[in-house]
């Protein structure tokens, strides 16, 4: 036994054992209940959108790696997350071919051109969605109501639109609570919002399940709790102040918190580790910026919803936050000056 050739390695010789693919897989687990509710609420259309977007993202990543003669990186599961997130932000009866295009754009433009996992500046799913929003402004704002009686038996005609064709609008469209408020000044009941009994993007409607997924990841130390707390906290406080100033014009902070994509964005999108700052103080600033921007866009902007742009903008600022905000090093009196 003592004649064996011993291995050598550098210290430390033990590790915590939670690897990147394990973290990514757990994010997928945390998203599954949200996806399951989406399918329950919007039926077969939502299921098709989710499956299409996941397949599109995974295939795109796999083939991009192959074409650039690298080892395929789909085993780290991050492409699945992007696929799920993209699908969850799209309307339930979004045409599948557009969904597929969105997945390709997410992976190619949002991730691969930057150098793949770890190097993306923006949340890839949101890059894909931003392009879809610009390219297909009508399709991406055509919402179907939740809990239709025939949601498990019939596929919406818009879902199966042929590529490069305009989807037909099949008459049954429901306004999202934010759009209803912005354009028609109709407020939606807060409990309906929390439980997801509303129309909206595939996965943004059930705030409670989203929060549950977030709590699971925070408990497993796979998510920075400061991000959702700072995003939601800032949005709540800012809209709360506006509400106190004039509750005729401005919606209640609870409505703001539980409507639209804010919950999904704060818990699962803004928390993209790669595209968010790394220091605690930097994270608070980053989350604060998102929270403020969301409310500003929602109230004063031309769009009913502003989560996507708020996060993309904060993603762009994130590296600069890291450059400026540096923690004080042990044994030094003040933080280092930025280079």
């Amino acid at each position: 036994m003592l004649n064996r050739t011993l291995n050598i390695s550098t210290s430390p010789h033990i590790t915590k054992g939670i690897s990147t693919d394990v973290i990514m897989r757990n994010v997928v687990w945390a998203l599954l209940p949200v996806a399951a509710f989406a399918v329950y609420a919007f039926g077969i259309n939502a299921l098709l959108v989710l499956i299409t977007s996941v397949i599109s993202c995974v295939l795109t990543e796999h083939y991009l790696c192959k074409f650039s003669k690298k080892e395929s990186t789909i085993t780290d599961w991050s492409a699945v997350i992007t696929g799920l997130l993209l699908g969850l932000t799209l309307p339930p009866n979004f045409p599948l071919w557009m969904t597929f295009v969105g997945g390709v754009i997410s992976m190619a433009l949002g991730k691969f051109v930057f150098g793949g996992l770890g190097y993306n500046v923006f949340n890839p799913a949101l890059v894909g969605r931003a392009v879809l929003q610009a390219a297909f402004p009508v399709a991406i704002t055509t919402w179907s109501p939740a809990f239709l009686a025939n949601r498990f038996s019939s596929i919406s005609s818009s879902t199966l639109t042929f590529p490069f064709m305009e989807p037909s609008v099949d008459g049954m469209s429901g306004a999202t609570p934010l759009a209803a408020f912005k354009f028609d000044q109709v407020a939606t009941d807060a409990s309906d919002l929390a439980l997801g009994l509303i129309s909206g993007s595939t996965g943004e409607t059930c705030s409670l399940l989203i929060l549950l997924g977030g709590i699971y990841l925070v408990a497993r130390k796979m998510m920075n709790w400061r991000i959702p707390v700072s995003v939601l906290g800032t949005a709540f406080v800012f809209s709360g102040i506006l509400y106190l100033v004039d509750n005729e014009v401005f919606p209640s902070p609870f409505f703001m918190l539980f409507s639209g994509g804010l919950m999904l964005g704060a818990v699962f999108m803004a928390t993209d580790m790669v595209a968010s700052p790394i220091t605690p103080l930097g994270v608070w600033i980053y989350g604060g910026i998102i929270g403020l921007l969301v409310i500003v866009i929602r109230i004063w902007g031309g769009l009913p919803e502003g989560v996507m742009y708020a996060i993309l903008l904060a993603n762009a600022i994130s590296p600069h936050i890291d450059n400026v905000i540096r923690p004080r090093v042990y044994g030094t009196s003040k933080s280092l000056k930025p280079s």
Binding site: M1, L2, R4, L6, N7, I8, S9, T10, S11, P12, H13, I14, T15, K16, I18, S19, T20, D21, V22, I23, D76, G115, G116, L117, G118, Y119, K221, N224, M273, V274, S276, I278, T279, D322, R326, P327, R328, V329, Y330, G331, T332, L336, S339
Partner: protein, 450 residues
């Protein structure tokens, strides 16, 4: 300190690796047999190598000086066993380099009586005489650093040692050396503290112990006589609390300035086993011949805490305790900061606090390295608040100057917490070790050019 200090009694950040101390912390220290041939490298400490004063063929007695200190930052080496000097030549060392050394063949059955030198009398000796006594005893930091203790204890002009901290933290997983020493050598420790307090002029002594060794803490508390300015402080278990800087912050909430020493905040820290050695050796003027070592890990059959003569070849040690068929890696020290050994012909040295053997089961076959996903786990782990993620990226781009100047690379003491938590298995500490040596070399080049 912030408004809400959640870090009472301990430093900020750090990690909680599995302790793995249960298997050996209840086993009393046992004397290890003498190896037939003892191999003594002359480089066992930081500083100048010891200068050999014996010749081949000479018979030496246990405790006799074999090599003397070659300067202030150096210590002598004593014969751990009576025997014959077989050979004076280069011997393998843990760094992989061959270093000057002595092969000492033990007498098979002579009385192993110990030669004694000039005793250092606690009451009459001056601080400088105590420091000289510590150097003559060949004492270096037994916690693993192996820095000559007398150098560390010398309070520079204009500085003042207010508090002496005895380091009984032992935060490395698996190791139980200091734990057993505190349980079994309390008298020596308390005697050593008297010498140390006199040498440094410290008015107060605090023994720092982690909460997984409360039996040792209670035992020491009982042994301290009333009126002695010595106290025991139990702190929560956390790695790397055994580092001087972290321990000072944990106990006294002071921060050692960047690039400075504990004495800059009026503190001197000494390892508990080193203290026991001082208390045992100085009253007799003896030199250090053996030390307590924990031999453990899944690959070891007879795990335990052993009193092993310095210079015992590692191969002999492992033969005596027995190892499993499928051993894969052997570490000198603990699994966090210890060094993997490739050659079993190296010997136990003064700084060896433990030997941990892992089998193929524990040693992961080259874990897959993912890109940094900026999860921030390393930032939350680093006890000195560096940004290992950023440093790792800079190291990849070989931006060593930026690492040192903008991101405090040189403050890193290589505790390994960042690598431990990294989900992408990035060998951060390895990067930093390399980068530090490059920065040091560059600095040397520029000073030489001037």
């Amino acid at each position: 300190m912030g408004l809400f200090n959640f870090h009472r009694d301990t430093f900020k950040h750090g990690i909680h690796p599995p302790e793995q101390k249960r298997e050996t912390n209840g086993l009393p220290i046992r004397q290890f047999p003498f190896a037939p041939v003892i191999v003594l490298p002359m480089v066992q400490h930081i500083g100048g190598p010891s200068e050999i004063v014996v010749r081949e063929g000479q018979e030496v007695n246990r405790g006799q000086v074999l090599a003397k200190a070659n300067g202030y930052v150096s210590v002598p080496i004593h014969a751990p066993v009576s025997g014959t000097i077989r050979k004076i030549s280069n011997v393998p060392s843990i760094s992989g380099k061959m270093v000057p050394g002595i092969y000492l063949e033990a007498f098979p059955s002579s009385s192993q009586e110990v030669m004694e030198g000039t005793p250092i009398d606690l009451d009459t000796a001056t601080p400088d005489e105590i420091l000289k006594g510590i150097q003559d005893a060949g004492i270096v930091g037994l916690g693993g650093a192996a820095f000559p203790t007398h150098v560390k204890l010398k309070v520079p002009e204009g500085k003042n040692c207010e508090i002496l901290i005895i380091n009984g933290i032992e935060c490395e997983p698996y190791l139980t050396t200091d734990h057993r020493v505190m349980l079994e050598q309390a008298d020596d420790i308390l005697m050593g503290i008297k010498y140390l307090a006199k040498a440094t002029g410290a008015k107060q002594t605090i023994i720092g112990i982690e909460a997984n060794k409360t039996d040792a803490a209670n035992h020491l508390k009982r042994m301290i006589s009333d009126g002695d300015p010595v106290s025991v402080k139990v702190v929560p278990v956390k790695y790397p609390q055994g580092s001087e800087k972290m321990l000072i912050t944990s106990i006294l909430d002071r921060e050692v300035p960047s690039g400075g020493l504990p004495i800059d905040v009026n503190i001197v820290v000494v390892n508990v086993a080193t203290t026991a050695e001082i208390g045992r050796l100085l009253p007799h003027g003896r030199g250090i011949q053996e030390r307590v070592i924990t031999i453990t890990g899944p690959g070891v059959k007879k795990k335990g805490n052993y009193l092993i003569p310095i210079g015992t070849p590692l191969r002999y040690v492992l033969e005596q305790v027995g190892v499993e068929e499928n051993i894969s890696e052997v570490y000198m020290g603990g699994p966090m900061m210890g060094v993997a050994v490739s050659n079993l012909d190296i010997s136990i040295v003064k700084g060896t606090s433990g030997i941990v053997v892992f089998t193929e089961k524990e040693v992961k076959k080259a874990p897959k390295v993912y890109p940094c996903i900026k999860c921030g786990a390393c930032v939350d782990a680093c006890p000195i608040f560096l940004n290992p993620s950023k440093l790792g990226i800079l190291a990849k781009f070989e931006a060593y100057d930026s690492m040192a100047e903008d991101y405090h690379l040189m403050d890193c003491f290589e505790c390994g917490s960042c690598s431990y938590v990294c989900p992408s298995n990035i060998p951060l500490v390895q990067y930093f070790r390399l980068s530090k040596s490059i920065v040091r070399k560059r600095k040397q080049v520029t000073t030489n050019a001037k």
